[in-house]
Point group: C2
DNA sequence: CAGAATCCTTTCTGATACTG
DNA sequence: CAGTATCAGAAAGGATTCTG
């Protein structure tokens, strides 16, 4: 067949958007939304129920106040999270997933499942690569 | 990506993900892998079959040579993509998904499906938000 | 063709200080 | 409590030049 052919089965002919000119397919939309450093972690936390700002910050380990604000604002803007302000003193705010946002948790779960299922094989691949390419620095 | 190295010396408060209601542990792994600007687009393109370097660059609109190199190297390192060098002159290289990488396309498809299914409702949410918060600049 | 190496600009993040 | 406003460092990405 070919010179250096290895045992890899031919990848399935699946086109995410069903189109031949394979545009963005809208995938970038989702990834721009959940692909950042914190969004998914916030969503996961909110999947456990409504949370207040400080609760979220304590739950999502390592997030700064600024990034939590930004993250939660974007999610709100996209209609994935509902922000409710109670006119108390001091102010009290809670965040919860909208139905749309809750639907996203299924995708997140799928990602987690895949990740866990392939964690070791990927780790091994990395290790093998790093051994084969000692000088090469990818990270 | 994230400087977070999972697995090594796990602090007690960080659950190394054995539980069902705390699925975020492995998610970052996947997102660090496909959450960047180009990886998914490359994967989608490779889902259509093996591609050479230039083919990929032409197919993935807007990607620079540098980023294509980096992207494809990382995918190779993670064992998602197989890189084959043919000893011709000039050099000829092709990339194809490994079985692991091909499995990822299912996730990508799920992402695309979800994205397309919620594209309008999210767009409307954004629009509504921008109208309600004219002064606010999120993105 | 398929990169590697540089340089430079943009974007992202975290730390800090301040407010209703 | 729940933010806003700045600012500086880090990281990502792009453009260009140069090989085997």
């Amino acid at each position: 067949m070919s010179p250096t052919h290895t045992g890899v089965t031919t990848p399935a002919e699946l086109d995410p958007c069903g189109r031949e000119d394979h545009p963005d397919c809208g995938i970038r939309d989702v990834l721009d939304r959940i692909g950042d450093k914190w969004s998914v972690l916030v969503i996961v936390e909110l999947a456990g129920g409504p949370r207040r700002f400080r609760e979220l910050q304590r739950a999502v380990d390592g997030i700064s106040q600024r990034m939590l604000t930004l993250t939660v604002r974007r999610l709100e803007r996209d209609g994935l999270v509902l922000r409710t302000v109670y006119p108390t003193v001091p102010a009290q705010v809670d965040y919860r997933l909208t139905d749309t946002g809750a639907g996203l948790t299924h995708l997140v779960k799928a990602l987690a499942d895949w990740s866990l299922a392939h964690r070791t094989v990927i780790a091994e691949a990395r290790h093998a690569y790093d051994e084969t390419h000692p000088d090469h620095d990818i990270r």
